[in-house]
């Protein structure tokens, strides 16, 4: 194990052949982040204590939910057979929604540690990530984790790996990341089996921007992988995407916290601050080079395809600028979100955002609230329809029309269907993933407009229409959809001093109805001494909650009522 080196590290001591860039990929909860913790401890990047749990999960939302959302990077120094190696580790998210982050990280690496749970064995994301790495022609080191658990069966999993991925059993490293068992062997394998980056220090400087953060004071902090040459603080570099030039203000590596240095060399991974202030200037996939030495740009990234859409509006129009800048900043750090301006009659100006999945959307929302204090209304998006006559007509049918079926290889089949976009905007993708245990993947193209048998369904609260919940439904499904929405609303809206009629209607005809009873008595019986403090607390909490409600007519509706109604999870 290397000694703890927290001060200035001389990066020139690491020639390209002693650098390894790798990431850890796996299905969710198979132990990526725990292994990352161990590697950090073992190479002295962090001090070994009890508190090292998922150190790389910096976001509050990550810690709360126990998931990795945003890939983080750490540079480790490892001594092996008398030599010092610089190992650059990139942690990745496991959830299917975030596979885009995985492919970006992979582009900066030469190898991956593919972790498989010793009991669960190969799962959906294991396969998906394997293919990503395989197609990128990276070295793949299989690691069987959680061998300490009672039900662990590493033998079975090793042979499963051999059968499915064609990797010999004896190449699997069996570890317990939690206990640290055999983790040293992983580090050795990284050095032995992952090739060094192909990059020469003598080439002109060339770097890939594979990630970025927005810092309030310093502007854009770009995560870069240096593919050639070297760069120094003070150099003038150019961004290929915009053609703009910048001065390198700050440079460094991540340990996982920032460690500033004077220079970065070919094969290395680190961060750069250039004074970019505008969100749009830092483009993921961009190539950076020195001003006097232009280079061929690196292949960029395929933009992520959004699968789940939602409309986002500020609670009050006066919050619009605040929400706009919050969305801008958050999407800077998450370029897989597609953003489009939108406006709704009831809610005013807002956006239509596209996400990689429902979890992605929820996490995005949570980050908006936690990190930017933004108060947002989320609605079903307004999917554009072309009206042929006075009423819109589109074919809308959950049963898509099958167009095509192709076998890719003996394990995968591709099926093409024609679906109306509206059917898939909210939860189709999620449902598909869960029905196929995550194995199915999904891509779509706009197939143009087609005619359909649709009607517009209104939701009314005490006779007042709720604009945000207007939906277009297929005539045959109107009743069940309407009833379901009314029931969900009934559960989401608190009782008030008057009765509330929740109705679904088509035109003037009411097709479903639920009632929220009025309070007949709502006053605390006893209020003396200690009761007072308790009661005040409760009342203050209710007062706070009230501020966040929307008024539809005279009915107070909590913000999350809308999204509860739109999540039509019929299990």
């Amino acid at each position: 194990m290397a000694s703890t080196q927290t001060d200035t590290i001389d990066l020139s001591k690491f020639p390209v052949d002693r650098i390894r860039n790798f990431c850890i990929i796996a299905h969710i909860d198979h132990g990526k982040s725990t292994l990352a913790d161990r590697l950090l401890e073992m190479t002295g990047a962090i001090v070994k204590t009890q508190k090292n749990k998922q150190v790389l999960d910096k976001l509050q939302v990550e810690r709360e939910r126990g998931i990795t959302v945003k890939a983080q990077t750490a540079s480790l120094i490892y001594s092996h057979q008398g030599q010092q190696y610089l190992l650059n580790l990139i942690d990745t998210p496991g959830h299917v929604d975030f596979s885009y982050e995985v492919s970006r990280s992979i582009s900066a690496c030469q190898g991956v540690l593919l972790i498989v749970d010793a009991n669960q064995g190969i799962q959906a994301q294991t396969v998906a990530n394997f293919y990503l790495a395989f197609e990128a022609q990276l070295a793949i080191i299989p690691v069987i984790n959680k061998i300490d658990l009672k039900n662990a069966d590493p033998e079975r999993v090793a042979s499963q790996i051999e059968k499915v991925f064609d990797i010999p059993c004896n190449e699997c490293i069996r570890i317990s990341a939690k206990l640290g068992t055999n983790v040293e062997a992983v580090l050795q394998a990284v050095v032995d089996r992952i090739p060094p980056p192909v990059a020469s220090i003598d080439d002109p400087f060339k770097a890939l921007v594979f990630d970025s953060n927005f810092d309030h004071y310093r502007g854009v902090v770009a995560n870069i992988a240096v593919f050639g040459g070297r760069v120094r603080k003070g150099d003038r570099i150019v961004s290929a995407y915009l053609g703009k030039s910048y001065e390198v203000n700050e440079l460094g590596i991540l340990r996982p916290d920032e460690h500033p240095t004077q220079k970065l060399f070919a094969g290395q991974v680190g961060y750069m601050v250039t004074g970019m202030k505008d969100v749009k200037e830092a483009q993921i996939g961009d190539t950076l080079y020195l001003k006097e030495q232009p280079v061929e740009t690196l292949p960029g990234f395929k933009p992520a395809k959004a699968m789940v859409f939602a409309g986002m509006f500020p609670t009050d129009q006066s919050d619009y600028p605040g929400l706009r800048s919050a969305i801008e900043r958050l999407t800077l750090n998450d370029s897989s979100v597609t953003v489009q301006r939108d406006s709704s009659m009831a809610l005013g100006a807002g956006w239509r955002l596209g996400f990689l999945g429902l979890l992605h959307m929820e996490v995005f929302n949570q980050r908006l609230e936690q990190e930017y204090n933004a108060s947002v209304i989320v609605t079903a998006p307004t999917v554009p329809y072309k009206a042929v006559l006075s009423s819109p007509r589109l074919i809308k049918n959950r049963r898509g029309i099958q167009k095509n079926m192709v076998y890719i290889d003996d394990k995968r089949v591709m099926m093409k269907y024609l679906f109306p976009l509206n059917e898939i905007v909210v939860d189709f993708y999620d449902l598909l993933k869960s029905l196929s245990s995550g194995y199915a993947s999904f891509d779509y193209e706009n197939a143009g407009y087609q005619a359909a048998d649709l009607i517009k369904m209104n939701i009314l609260l005490n006779g007042q229409p709720v604009e945000e919940l207007i939906t277009i439904v297929h005539r045959g499904r109107a009743y069940s959809a309407g009833k379901a929405m009314c029931e969900r609303l009934q559960d989401s809206i608190p009782r008030q001093m008057f009765e509330i009629a929740v109705q679904a209607s088509i035109g003037s005809k009411v097709i479903a109805r639920e009632t929220i009873k009025a309070y007949r008595k709502n006053v605390l019986a006893k209020c003396y001494g200690g009761d007072i403090t308790r009661k005040m607390k409760l009342l203050k909490k209710q007062a706070e909650g009230k501020k966040k409600m929307r008024l539809i007519g005279n009915v107070e509706v909590p913000k999350d009522a809308f999204i509860n109604v739109l999540k039509r999870k019929d299990k």
């Binding site: 309070y519 209020c527 003396y528 001494g529 200690g530 007072i532």
Partner: protein, 441 residues
């Protein structure tokens, strides 16, 4: 005899000293007059199935120690609050009527020693109407008690069993009779509705029966299921059912009407009185006066002028009797928590408590706490308040702010909106310089 009675599980003696109100320049907390001492004696013989109060079972005979400590804490807190005049004392909690009358006398003596206990002061004792309790009433009177609050709860014996009470309805009625003999016009009766197996009809009958024999004050409480109580578990497990919500709402409604017909004036959500028998003590709570809580688990609200304090504090005494005893012995009082109430918090309490009274909050009263912003300025402009006024639930006029007859029943639905508005109006003014110029209003 101390020993025999005081295998007392514990009673909470709540000694509350009422403060005489005095208008003052900036806020009530500056007035050093009087407050309500609340004595908590945390022992009971047994725990009723619905009760979630701070109650304990005493293993040794420590009545003497308790008395001593209560006296000590009374002295300490009276001096700390610099209260000069006491208008009411309340003995409550667990079962104060388990304490020996000499304990009551001793405590009252201590009060008199450290503050002026007016001759006209209301001294209330809560009574559990068992034969034993009844037999002590006369001695309590001699000790200085001049008002009794009797926990009748129900006139149905089966219900008393379900509630875990240790007396029969007959015994309760006898206790009421004795109390009326000793303190005519100064006896209050507690009754509960919304009990298991109760119907609107049976409730109406019970109420009629009660009204034939009660004195001039009735407290009506809806049975509330509190987490952790035996009754809660029974209801959860399906062994016991309580009446549905609209039934209890109806019970409350017709009780209000019935009592009104019999000449009782409802002066608070749960309290009814005729012939001016309203409880001075409780009224003071709701009017935001200072009060001192003494004994394990007692609550108080006063300004600790004795240590140079200027803000009113919400104070709670240590809950566990043994720990409380130790603390009182060590430093004179067993205060566990002290939270300063800022200007806004104080006004919030005044609002929430004041609206529980049918008379509500009048302008002068509000002005004592909020000299710069009157009721109309705070609440007059809010759209939501306008709606409540228009719907007739709330009244804001020359007298002040109060609930209407119908509005009182839904008070807790209206309060959040009022609190939001209060915060909105008062919040900004908190930035202003609040140095008092000392001139009284």
């Amino acid at each position: 005899c101390l020993g025999g009675l005081l295998t007392i599980r514990g009673t909470k003696k709540v000694l509350q000293i009422l403060e005489k109100s005095r208008k003052c320049a900036q806020n009530m907390s500056k007035s050093p007059s009087s407050s309500l001492p609340l004595l908590q004696w945390p022992y009971c013989l047994r725990r009723c199935s619905y009760c979630n109060f701070n109650k304990y079972i005493s293993r040794e005979d420590n009545d003497h120690i308790m008395t001593e400590c209560i006296q000590r804490e009374t002295e300490t807190l009276l001096r700390l609050s610099q209260v000069s005049c006491i208008t009411s004392v309340f003995f409550g909690g667990g079962t104060p009527s388990l304490a020996h009358p000499s304990t009551i006398a001793a405590v009252l003596q201590t009060v008199s020693r450290w503050a002026r206990l007016s001759d006209k002061a209301e001294v209330t004792l809560e009574v559990n109407p068992t034969p034993v309790g009844k037999s002590k009433l006369e001695d309590y009177c001699r000790a200085g008690v001049n008002r009794f609050s009797i926990g009748v709860q129900s006139l149905q014996d089966e219900d008393l069993k379900i509630l875990g009470r240790d007396h029969s309805s007959h015994q309760a009625l006898q206790t009421v009779e004795e109390a009326r003999r000793l303190c005519p016009g100064r006896v209050s009766v507690d009754v509960m509705f919304g009990r298991p197996k109760q119907s609107v009809e049976s409730w109406e009958n019970e109420l009629s029966e009660l009204l034939r024999v009660c004195d001039d004050h009735v407290s009506l409480y809806q049975l509330t299921l509190e987490r952790g109580t035996r009754l809660f578990k029974q209801v959860l497990g399906g062994e016991v059912t309580v009446p549905a919500e609209d039934v209890t709402a109806e019970m409350y409604r017709c009780a209000r009407r019935t009592l009104q017909q019999r000449g009782f004036l409802q002066y608070e959500v749960s309290n009814f009185a005729r012939h001016k028998a309203a409880s001075h003590h409780n009224t003071s709570y709701w009017k935001g006066r200072q009060y001192i809580g003494v004994g394990p688990g007692a609550h108080g609200r006063f300004v600790p002028l004795g240590e140079g304090g200027v803000h009113r504090e919400a104070r709670t005494q240590t809950l566990e009797p043994d720990v409380w005893i130790r603390e009182v012995r060590q430093r004179g009082h067993g205060t566990r928590r002290r939270i300063q109430l800022g200007h806004l918090e104080l006004l919030e309490e005044v609002l929430v408590m004041g609206l529980r009274m049918t008379d509500g909050i009048n302008h002068e009263h509000w002005e004592m706490f909020s000299p710069h912003l009157g009721l109309r300025e705070v609440f007059g402009t809010s759209r939501e308040v306008q709606e409540l006024l228009q719907s007739g639930q709330l009244i804001l006029d020359d007298r002040g702010l109060r609930c209407s007859w119908d509005g009182l029943v839904l008070l807790d639905s209206m309060l959040p909106a009022l609190l939001v508005e209060l915060e909105r109006q008062i919040g900004p003014s908190l930035q202003r310089d609040h140095h008092t110029d000392g001139s009284p209003h």
